[in-house]
Each structure stands twice: as structure tokens, then as C-alpha cells.
Symmetry: C2
Subunit: 333 residues, 2 copies
């Protein structure tokens, strides 16, 4: 097998050839047709992730064909087209992941490879009308956005949804879930191009958050959002609280802009707000997401496709700010 | 009728005799047997409440006998023992109050009187085994605590509930709802006496929040709370976020200690927390609260009883920090 290995922090990934893996009891080997990158892969290369163990094959998202099964009762999977659920050992509580929870691609070797070893419980049939690239683009961003919007945010068709920082994988999938629910959608970005792209995908309004008057523009052109999906936090967090409709929900799947420097708790209780945290998703979230994909034809947005041999060009695009949607890796098989 | 009137901010209430009120179409006149004070009454006397209009008869909580009805179809209420729902014009949305929402006792003349005029929709039969004092102590603190704990906080028997600032009317009612749900209960206070009183009422643990090591003591003696009911906010808010069990809820019905100086949003998303605002309650909350009182025999805690003629002594006790539970006014009829 070929694989992209992180051996040293803040260095390029090394492309290596290793012996093809052999599945143990309860495991499958998947021959990967495509993988996809997540912001997490970048954080790991920068040493900004808890519990880093090197060397590791990075990559959480993958889709491919099952090549071999370690248990005879799993033999039916061989030859099947699958997507991989990258959230492992969630645990028993649907509300929160266990201490054992981890994401494929650190410490377990991940999907930036031609082959990957996966416990049988973490594969699911590929949505039949998806391309391999689409199937690989879905899992981690899809389930994170699904949980944030649907499981946690209780997204409904009557909602007016504001999605901040459009262009990122999760934000873009949130846009797709909001569109499939029939909700009204607005987005924010620092890039006029990304706002235009979001409008092509179904957003009815978009605002440059670099313009300090964007909240007033939002009130005028879109109205108060009933659901905000945010991955930034930071000083802008209280602006979102202010903007939110009474009775609204603000769901955070991250805080890339840091901890908000205060919290306007008076507005929180007087407006009866829900401020919710959400990260990744449970096996139930993953199954419900795939069901929603089947029922509603939701598709991930693909920014670009790189062959595995050009993984470091793909990582460079991930590190920049220009991509809109998922960066997919063609694993060549 | 006799009534206690606020004519000037930061002055004592004046006891006045006025003509007995006559109900208009859709109104009832209730002869009050008892009323009760709320922190809101104090804030109003200090000018720390929005939209103050003087003079006003203060008082949100009351229980009594219906004396007269303004409409023939309401004649069946005459002679009935009732409690008054003080939350008026909530509006159509169960999630949040409308702009018209107001609480009895400003601008509408309230219950610190021998008689009060109330729209028929805001009376309900008095819980039959309640005393008049208990019935008057229930409404505003009861529905605020009910909404915070049950409607918003989704209180269950498996919960470990932490109630901060025990002694206040809402906190003490929250303790009663948590006990009736069969949850484990801990409290915080700055007073060892109040902690002891809470333990007599069913709290299994109590912590002096003036002792900086109280969170460690809570972890040791009680464990991580799954539901926190807080009316303070302020710098202690992030301590509560830290203490909360993964997947837990932190419900605020106020922020008497001010806006928290930061928000640890990383813990919020990683622990999948819900930070929720709640205030007062809807007509549904009020009806469900009374149903819960009937089914589970929950009773409010009464701190002290003053006759209406001694209203300013009662207001002085409200302004202090010593009371535990509700300050009740005996309206003498």
C-alpha cells in the first residue's frame, strides 16, 4: 500500500510504500478510492491537537471497496462499496462522546492511503448515486454539520439559519443541510467570492464579517436568525447573541477565533436563548445523516481533487484560506 | 380596599384606602387572602427595572376568593378559591415571551392589596391542600423555577442537580422541583445556615461559594452535576461550566452577579454543553406547574409572614440577605 505519513511536526508528509494490511478479527480492509482533508489534519501537522503520536498516516475521511474481512461473519462486506464513519468508540451516551472517543487518522492510521483497516461497525454502504469523491467528502464534515444543525440545533423548515465562516467543510455542509430542510439561509465570510458561491448553493443573503456594520445589514436584508451555526466564537460571539431571534439557538462546533471575551447573559435569559456546543457525531448521527442523504439527495461541495502523490499540495491548499468545500484526495485505486 | 402603593423610588410604600374595584368585561375581582414578595418588587423600588410607571400597587403573587365577575359567562368563578398567574400576554410562542409580556404589579396594579383586578384567563383553582400562604408563595417563583428546571432544563430523576444561591425564592422552588423529580441535589450559598436549611429540605450536599475550593469539594462529595440552575452568572459562571458533567445543561434565570467576563467556549463544544436562558413562564408552564403540584405534592418554602399593614418591614426583609424561601403578606381578609 501507499500512504502519506506525518513523521515530524511542521514538516511535509512522506509518501511511503508499506506491506498491504491484513484484517484482524472484527476488522475490514478497505481499498480506498478517495479520501478527504479536514482542518484537523492541519492542526495535527502544527502540533495543535491533543495527544499526538508520531508517525501516523493522517486522514479521517475515506470511501472505497472492501477488500478483505478478518471474521467469516463479515465476509458479506467483501466487494461492497463503503464510506467510513471516522468517529470511533463514541460510547453509550447519545449526548456526549466517551473518554475513549477518537477520530480515525490519529492515533489509528487513517485514510490518506490506498488501504485502511477499519472495525466492521464503522463502515456503511456508500450512497449509491454518490461519486467516490463525494462519498469521501461526506463523513467527518457531514456528521459534524448534521449533529450541529439537526441533532443539536433542531433545524426545521421554518428556521432562518445563519452560517458563519462559509467555505469551511462543516459550514458548507451546514448550508446543504439547511437547504435540504427548506430553511432560509444567510452566510458570513471575509471573502466576497465565497459569499457569491454560497448564494449559488442556496443562501439568500451573505455578509462580510470584516465590515463592522454587517449585523445591521443582516437585520435589514435577512432578519433575525432563529438558528446560528458557528465555528469561530471569539469577539464576534456576542454579536451573534445580539442578532439571534428571541427563543433562538446558537450552536458552536468550534472556536477558531478563541474564547469570547465576555458573555451577555442578560440577553441569554431574557431572550430565552440556547447556546449549544457540538462536536463530531455519534453512530446514530452518522446513520441518520446517511438516511437523510438517501432521502433528500444532499451532496457535499467539493473544492478540488488532488492525487495521493500530490498530498503536500493538497495540505498547502488546506492551510490557506481559499478553499470552498472539501479538498478531496484521489487514492488512485 | 387597602393597598400598598409605590409613589416615589427609594421610598417606603404608602398604605392607602381606595374604592373597591369593579370588574370590566373579561375580568374578575379577587379578594386576596395572601400575597408574596419577589426580588422584582425590590428592584422596582430602587428604579432598577425597565419601564417603571408610578404610582403603582406592587405585588405579583396572590391567592384569594373571587368576589365578582365582569362577564356573565365568568359567573361560575365567583366564590372560588384561586391563585393568580402573574405572567400576562406571553403570546403564541411557547419558546419565548412576546413584546407585550408583562408581570402583574407594574404597570398593572398588583397584589399587595386586599383586592386585585385580573383577566379571567389568569386565575386557576387553588391547590386544595395548600394554605392561603402557600398558594400565594407559589406563582412567580414557582413558574420561574419550573420553567428553568423542567421545561428548559429537562429535569429527570437520574439528574445530579446543582442549585446556586439557595435561599432565594426561585432557587428554593428549584430545590423543591428537583426533590420531587427524585434527583440528587447540591446547593451553594454564602451562608452555612442556608446550606443547613437546604439539607433539611433534601439537598445531599452544600458548598460555601465564598470558599474558592468549593468546586473541588463538590467533585469529591457530590460529583459532576448534570444540570445546574443558576441566577447569578458573573465570574463564577465559568466555574460552573468547568464543573458541569459532559452533556450537561446550565440554565440561567438571572445574572445578579453580572455578565461573565469570558466564556470558555472550548469546553462548551467539547463537552457538548447546553447553556440556556430562561425567565418567568408561559401559560403552559403555569398549568403544568399546578398539575405537578397536584400530582407530587410540592410545596413552596415560606420564610416569614407579615400583615399587609407591615408591608415596609416585609420589604426591608426582602432587601436583606437573610430570608430563605418566600416572604408572604397576609392580606387580612
Amino acid at each position: 500500500m501507499r500512504c502519506a505519513v506525518l513523521k515530524e511536526l511542521r514538516h511535509a508528509l512522506d509518501l511511503e510504500t508499506r506491506p498491504d494490511p491484513i484484517p484482524a478479527e472484527g476488522q475490514l480492509v478497505v481499498e480506498l478510492h478517495a479520501a478527504a482533508l479536514n482542518r484537523r489534519d492541519y492542526w495535527i501537522t502544527q502540533g495543535l491537537y491533543p495527544g499526538i503520536q508520531l508517525p501516523v498516516v493522517l486522514g479521517s475521511d475515506g470511501a472505497g471497496t472492501v477488500l478483505a474481512a478478518g471474521s467469516t461473519e463479515d465476509a458479506g462486506w467483501v466487494g461492497q462499496a463503503v464510506v467510513i464513519n471516522p468517529g470511533w468508540d463514541w460510547g453509550e451516551d447519545p449526548r456526549v462522546q466517551s473518554d475513549r472517543f477518537r477520530i480515525l487518522g490519529m492515533p489509528d492510521d487513517g485514510t490518506l492511503a490506498t488501504h485502511v483497516v477499519v472495525p466492521t461497525e464503522y463502515v456503511a454502504p456508500k450512497p449509491p448515486d454518490y461519486s467516490w469523491h463525494e462519498a469521501a467528502a461526506l463523513p467527518l464534515a457531514g456528521v459534524t454539520a448534521y449533529r450541529a444543525c439537526c441533532t443539536r440545533g433542531r433545524l426545521e423548515s421554518a428556521d432562518r439559519v445563519l452560517i458563519t465562516g462559509i467555505g469551511g467543510g462543516v459550514a458548507t455542509m451546514a448550508l446543504m443541510w439547511a437547504r435540504s430542510a427548506g430553511a432560509a439561509i444567510a452566510v458570513t465570510s471575509s471573502s466576497p467570492q465565497k459569499i457569491e458561491q454560497a448564494q449559488h448553493l442556496g443562501a439568500s443573503a451573505g455578509f462580510l464579517y470584516t465590515d463592522a456594520s454587517w449585523p445591521e445589514a443582516c437585520l435589514e436584508q435577512f432578519g433575525r436568525p432563529t438558528l446560528i451555526v458557528d465555528g469561530a466564537g471569539g469577539p464576534g460571539y456576542n454579536v451573534l447573541i445580539d442578532l439571534l431571534a428571541p427563543g433562538g439557538r446558537l450552536v458552536n462546533y468550534g472556536a477558531t477565533a478563541g474564547a469570547p471575551p465576555k458573555l451577555d447573559l442578560f440577553k441569554v435569559f431574557w431572550k430565552q436563548l440556547d447556546l449549544q456546543g457540538s462536536t463530531m457525531g455519534s453512530p446514530d448521527d452518522f446513520a441518520q445523516m446517511l438516511e437523510s442523504v438517501r432521502r433528500q439527495g444532499v451532496r457535499p461541495v467539493i473544492d478540488s481533487v488532488f492525487p495521493l502523490e500530490r498530498i503536500n499540495d493538497a495540505m498547502e491548499r488546506l492551510a490557506g484560506k481559499d478553499h470552498f468545500g472539501k479538498i478531496v484526495i484521489d487514492c488512485g485505486s
